[in-house]
């Protein structure tokens, strides 16, 4: 074969190159112009979908699939448990190194469920994707509505403090928002009271241990001061003051039978030298009073034993049921 010693760029006239470059630049600019013009004229930022039958939104789909796969489970106390982030590792270790799996205590037995490539992918999305983060946040919000414990008090001169709460040793976050139904119920008696302090977020633990509300004030009480409290939940214990009077409160009437009570009004007398008060309350589950805990702007709701993801935030009557209390300087 005759050797051909070099690459061969065919001699092109310069005008041809100039023409090609001009066309290239014009095409690039023209394509961008077309795209930008389409974006500027269409009615919304996102283009109309080219897919003929659009699937459900990614978060709704993920929620449904995670429920079906057992990665989200409805618990006995009404809350939803989320599969732990290290579930793939737990499953792998259950087969390879069973002696290196931490013994299970109160939580669900996650290892026993079905596990395949699809569930593994769902688990990954649930824990490490934006849609998964959103679904877990919605689960948190739903869980926060499944238990209720709150306290409110009428301050007396010389006793000033801030309520704190813990649950099985974990400090809890308190908020001033309350369901309007409850707020209306107790409004007449509490017009000059301090704002509500309600547990805003519940740790994802099982079991129904009492919440400890604590009030601490800097100067010791001189003795004989009387404090009035309203406690939402099933009261179990008061320490730091002597209980003088107590009444049950229900949703329907100001006073009611003990079994129907959702709250309790207390009058306490402080001992001389007391610098704090602790009230222990069992949180109320949501099924104690249906409709009592509203869905708010959350996506998840429960219908019977089914959990449903609401595609759109349809205006529900309950959504107006929350009222934000102004937090005073004492709070």
């Amino acid at each position: 074969m005759e050797p051909i010693p070099k690459l061969n760029l065919m001699g092109q006239p310069r005008i041809f190159s100039v023409l090609l470059v001009t066309v290239f630049i014009a095409v690039c600019v023209g394509l961008l112009y077309q795209r930008l013009a389409a974006i500027y004229v269409r009615p919304s930022a996102l283009p109309k979908t080219a897919v003929k039958t659009p699937p459900p939104r990614e978060d709704a789909l993920l929620f449904e699939q995670a429920l079906a796969a057992g990665l989200l489970r409805l618990q006995a106390d009404g809350r939803i448990a989320v599969a732990p982030a290290d579930l793939p590792l737990r499953r792998a270790y259950a087969g390879l190194h069973p002696d290196l799996v931490v013994p299970r205590a109160a939580e669900c037995d996650w290892v026993d469920g079905v596990w395949d490539e699809r569930v593994s992918r769902l688990h990954r999305v649930l824990h490490f994707n934006a849609a998964g983060r959103y679904v877990r946040r919605q689960v948190d919000a739903y869980n926060a509505r499944q238990l209720l414990a709150a306290i409110r008090w009428r301050a007396v001169p010389g006793i000033e403090g801030v309520w704190q709460a813990d649950w099985a040793g974990a400090p809890l976050t308190l908020t001033g928002t309350m369901p309007a139904s409850l707020d209306r119920l107790l409004a007449e008696q509490t017009t000059d009271w301090q704002p509500w302090r309600r547990v805003a977020r519940w740790p994802a633990w099982e079991g129904r241990s009492p919440v400890h509300f604590q009030l601490v004030w800097p100067q010791p009480a001189s003795g004989g001061e009387q404090l009035e409290l309203i406690v939402v939940g099933e009261m179990t214990l008061v320490s730091g003051g002597r209980l003088i009077e107590s009444e049950s409160r229900c949703l329907q009437d100001a006073s009611c039978a003990e079994s129907d009570a959702v709250a309790r009004w207390l009058r306490l007398e402080l001992a001389a030298g007391a610098t704090g008060l602790e009230v222990s309350v069992l949180p109320l589950p949501a099924d104690t009073a249906p409709g009592f805990l509203p869905y708010g702007s959350g996506r998840i709701r429960r219908e019977g034993e089914r959990l449903i993801w609401r595609e759109r935030q349809a205006a529900l009557p309950e959504e107006s049921g929350w009222r934000m209390w102004a937090v005073t300087s004492k709070d």
């Binding site: 074969m1 050797p3 051909i4 010693p5 070099k6 690459l7 061969n8 760029l9 065919m10 090609l20 470059v21 290239f24 630049i25 690039c28 600019v29 961008l32 112009y33 930008l36 974006i39 500027y40 930022a45 996102l46 283009p47 979908t49 080219a50 897919v51 659009p54 699937p55 459900p56 939104r57 990614e58 732990p84 982030a85 290290d86 579930l87 590792l89 737990r90 792998a92 270790y93 390879l96 190194h97 290196l100 799996v101 931490v102 013994p103 299970r104 205590a105 109160a106 992918r121 994707n129 934006a130 849609a131 983060r133 959103y134 649950w167 974990a170 400090p171 976050t173 740790p203 994802a204």
Partner: protein, 794 residues
Amino acid sequence: MVIPPLAVKAKSLIRWIALDGRWGLFALWFLPVLGILWTAGGSPNWLELRLLRVTLAPGQALTLGRDTLQAPQADSEQLLLRRDMTGSWLLRNLSAGSPVWWRPAYEAQSRPIRQWPLTAGTSFTVGAHTVAVLAAEKNRLILRQGGWLWQYNGWHLQRDDRFLPECRQGWRDRLRGWLATVGLSLGLTRRPLRLGGGVYCADRLGLVDIPIDTAEIQPTGMGFSLRLGGAGQPDGPPVTVATGTAAAVPLWRHSVPLTAGDGLAVGRTQYRVLEAGSALLLAPVARVQRHLVGVQLPALPPTVSVAWGGPAWLWPAEPWVSMQRFGWMVALLFGVVGLCYWRRLVLRASERIAIGLALGSLCLGLYVQVLVVPILWPYLITWPALLVWLHTVRSRWSLGLLAVLALLLGGGLMALLQLGAGVEESGWHRYGSSAAALAGAFGWLSWAGWHGRRYWLPPPGWLTERRFSWILGGLCAGSLGLLVTQVVVGDEGGWAGWQPFEFSQLVLVAAAARALTLRGRSPVHGWSYQRAVPWLHYLGPLGLLGAVCSFIFLFLRDFSPFMLLLFWGLALIWAYLRVHPLPLWRWFGQIAVISLACAFVWGLAWLQTRPETLSLDFQMDRIRVWAAPEQYPHAGYQLRRALEAIRAGGWTGTVWSEPANGRAMAVPVVESDFAPAFFLNRYGGLAGLILAGLQAMLVALLILIADRALGRDWPGGYRPGMFGGFAYFTLCSGAALLGAHFLISWGTNLGFLPVMGQPMSLLSAAGSHLVLFVLPIIALAVAAEEKNHDTDSH
């Protein structure tokens, strides 16, 4: 010696600056200068915190929040500052989500406030689990928990003398383990021990009913420290330190003492403690909140007073502190200016080398201290580098290329300056400043290298085929080493702030160009098994390509680099076929490549209508989002925000009417992948069309220069290292990859491609891409063209 009058000096200076009468070229160079000055001059009148003074009596405490600290990432109640009865200042972080880092004076490393050093004989609890510390020394920690004895050496956990297996049995951990066994741990023999979760393994100590990463034990220089983990929550399982003693305290409420000289970081805002006596003085160092002049400033507690000032555009806020920090830079700059004045800009080669090295190192210094240098310094040092290069080059093609570069780079720097100038946090300036400083460092150092080439270039004849192969082999090995280092030490975002992948692209381009050049020199063309065909030489780039693809697939798990390489591969095949000596190969080959590209475009359009037909798991989410973005409000969040910003900008942009950036800042990664959305929002669609035209011109110029380099090939003595076929293929590859970057970036921002994750060259803040890929390719084009010019002249 005759001293020229001032007018003569001024005339010669003006003539030099005006590129010896080429006013058009000078205007192109000067246009970005005007743009940058206009951006700085037109920026909103911001007020920034200069000094924060807190006065407390012993025993008093004060809560500081976002408004007082002027820290954008801080919570409304972020810090609890108190003085104990001895007058010492103590600091506690109140926030659940926003971390606070503390660097004690005379220490180099920062640490979270919620950190507790482990010492032998102490214990701590996580939830209901008590962990006793039996020994805590460097690389040796012994704990007792759950009836077992746990030993941790900073890398591997043992339970009762039994080494536990690696938690994840992935290839990355196996690679790390193997490197550690052969003594190449790259400093990676230390990792935190994570507490919580459901298993016991090499770096996890599981605890019943405790979520994983509730707390972690971090190896430190002296021993080990307990920290809150990523899943630690204030209302989660409590973590209490020093249990069983009077000093027991939840880690969430752990306090640290403050003394003069300490450093603090609240979110991303940094402070230095100037004084911690009767009053506490905090001076912000970087990334503080800004307020418009005339807008009501936030109310402060009576015990807090603040001093305000404007942004440091040209002069440092604290002259004395700055003189200590930047003194050497100022001295270097004055030295360079003095030398130029003394020599009346007629410089010897050695002086040019010295100036290039001095200003290059100055730019690197600016890059290192980019958060604290005055905003305009990097721009002012960098832009003259382009002017001296315009003076240096002689070919018209080089001048044209550098002029287009000036417009593109200048436009990009102007946009990045606007990004920092129009936002309510001072830290955004770092993107533009670091890009300018890196470009300046490359420009000045390459200028020094150009004038010093007689000293460092090997003599003619030294660069033989064999030596060139060895050099390329070394570069391939180096780039692979960097990729492995990123896998082992870094993460998907890079390693130590750099992206080794960009360097690998450059080496891949060079290796492929070398192989194709050899193929071009082969006496046999077309498909052949003859021995004369240098098949073995093709294995190098193919091997590197395989390694790079594996890196992308296994580590980055990103689709966009594949798109880059696909585009590059097609372009390279086209570049080879269009110069093929056999007409059959030339014409049919080109037609085949163009048909393939058209088929690819058609396939994409088809896929958009039927995303479900592709059953691949890899990147399916991205494809689904691209096909139906309204169904993916979370995965498609970036695109939706970008399109909203682009629509808000319209054809003319918002920069003319709104000095502040406004809603454009809501676009995620607006400084990098979504910089085009920012550009279109602020400067409008018309400016975007000009930008696209300039980008197309840059790509076209690179291809034309590549053609010219090939046309000058084989004048007699073959120089494989620099010119001819090698330059042709390298420049074609570079142009293809640049074009692919432009295309993918426009596609990401406008939503017409199912990929994401690539910056737009010369517009986005992407230092590695700029100095490890874009500028070297342009430098090679200039070098090739200057060589052509020399050949013409001779």
